[in-house]
Amino acid sequence: MASSRLRVDWPSCEGRGLCHELLPELISLDRWGFPVIAGEVPEELLPAARRTVAGCPRLALRLV
């Protein structure tokens, strides 16, 4: 299977930070509270990544 990656829709993101709460393994926050994504999503984190995408209050995260 092709590797998956989380991408942010930057104009939609308002830095609420929920993604970091839900997936701290892959998502940290910069000094202003906007998400910093670390690399590709490993197989074992795919279910958590999907929940994080669904949980973003701005619908600003996608698994591509």
Binding site: R7, V8, W10, P11, W32
Partner: protein, 390 residues
């Protein structure tokens, strides 16, 4: 015109003959009998790459867009304030640009051609309008004309598609390339005006010599647009004194190259790769005598911070922070580590490449002018000529 345009070997040949269709047709036959395979083969043989800055192979883009209900978009809107080549083409060689668009439309089997004009230079729109009137209905394409807003990011590909779609002329996130899904979800061949002009010229006269339009500033009261042969020497563009000083290649989203670095290199992407530079959209800004690359970069990054559309958080907050951190360095109180950290923080984190381009400029300053930055820490300035040639 607000720019000086010099006679060149191909696109800018026979400038004395004027931009009208009657003159143009004496040297360029009307587009006919075009197929996808023919045009892609011609573009491939010439290694034609996009001239908007990214340098993507045109034939690949063309083949990707070759599906049902494709759309052709000619982008004449140069966001980069230092670039004037498309303005020059639009005013002096409108029919070459339009021929290229017709060839692409024929190859894609579409009649939908959109022209995006620069908001800053209404004269281009007037000339294109006159050129369309001259052509009448002979092209069997439906020309649709849009005018972009002024501003750095309004000429960006997705911002242009937003404009065409009746939404604000600002960048949005591209989940797939425009050639896959662009205007109204249709395959969209969106290229810079020079790319279409090169395409028409290659079709009419073959691939040799391969040329590129350059905009350079600094030696006269107006910017100069010239057409150079790829693989040629930089002294066709810059004086020996300018080659002995730092040069900003690629415009405000470009990179610094150190003093003397271009003297022994050719005008070719592969010669610039070692310097971390590309030809981009062909903007060449030699550092004026007595100026300082640190000070110039502060001024440009401050401008770029003001040009952020303000929609993406890291760009809206990061570019002003970067400008302040650089200004501190210029005044001898800053931290290079903070500048590096901020540049890394904004990179790749926006709907368009505005933060990336700004970070690239700043990284090149840090790469080549470490000695200069150290001097500034002591409240001195070496005008960027201390750095060793790369």
């Amino acid at each position: 015109m607000s720019v000086l345009v010099e006679e060149g070997p191909r696109l800018l040949a026979h400038l004395d003959e004027g931009p009208q269709l009657v003159h143009h047709r004496r040297r360029h036959p009307a587009p006919a009998d075009m197929t996808l395979d023919r045009l892609a083969a011609a573009a491939e043989a010439a290694d034609l790459r996009g001239r908007g800055g990214a340098g993507f192979p045109f034939a690949t883009k063309l083949r990707t867009a070759a599906r049902r209900r494709a759309v052709v978009v000619v982008n004449l809107s140069e966001g980069e304030p230092a670039s004037h080549k498309d303005e020059a083409l639009g005013q002096l060689r409108p029919h070459l640009v339009l021929d290229g668009a017709v060839l692409a439309a024929m190859a894609l089997g579409t009649r939908q051609v959109h022209l995006v004009l620069p908001g800053e230079t209404p004269a281009v729109g007037e000339r294109i309008g006159a050129a369309l009137a001259e052509r009448g209905s002979s092209d069997r394409v439906s020309w649709q004309v849009h005018t972009a807003a002024a501003g750095f990011v309004s000429g960006q590909a997705r911002a242009v598609i937003e404009l065409m779609s009746g939404r604000p002329n600002l960048p949005v996130t591209a989940w797939v390339p425009e050639a896959v899904s662009g205007y109204r979800g249709r395959p969209t061949l969106l290229s810079n005006a020079e790319t279409f002009a090169q395409l028409a010229s290659i079709w009419a006269h073959g691939p040799d010599p391969a040329t590129m339009l350059i905009t350079r500033a600094g030696d006269t009261d107006r910017p100069r647009v010239l057409e150079v042969v790829l693989g040629g020497r930089w002294d066709a563009v810059l004086s020996p004194a300018e080659l002995a000083r730092p040069v900003l290649l690629g415009g405000y989203h470009g990179v610094w190259v150190p003093a003397g670095a271009l003297a022994n290199r050719r005008i070719a992407g592969e010669d610039l790769a070692g310097l971390g530079a590309t030809l981009g959209a062909g903007v060449v800004l030699p550092l004026p005598e007595g100026s300082c690359p640190v000070h110039e970069t502060v001024r440009i990054v401050d401008y770029l911070a003001g040009q952020s559309a303000g929609r993406c958080g890291p760009c809206r907050l990061g570019l002003p922070a970067l400008a302040r951190a650089l200004d501190d360095i210029d005044r001898g109180v800053g931290s290079g580590a903070l500048v590096d950290d901020l540049a890394a923080t904004v990179r790749g984190r926006g709907a368009c490449a505005h933060p990336d381009g700004t970070a690239r400029l700043v990284v090149s300053l840090r790469r080549w002018f470490g000695d200069e930055l150290a001097l500034h820490q002591r409240q001195e300035c070496g005008h960027g000529v201390l750095a060793a040639a790369g």
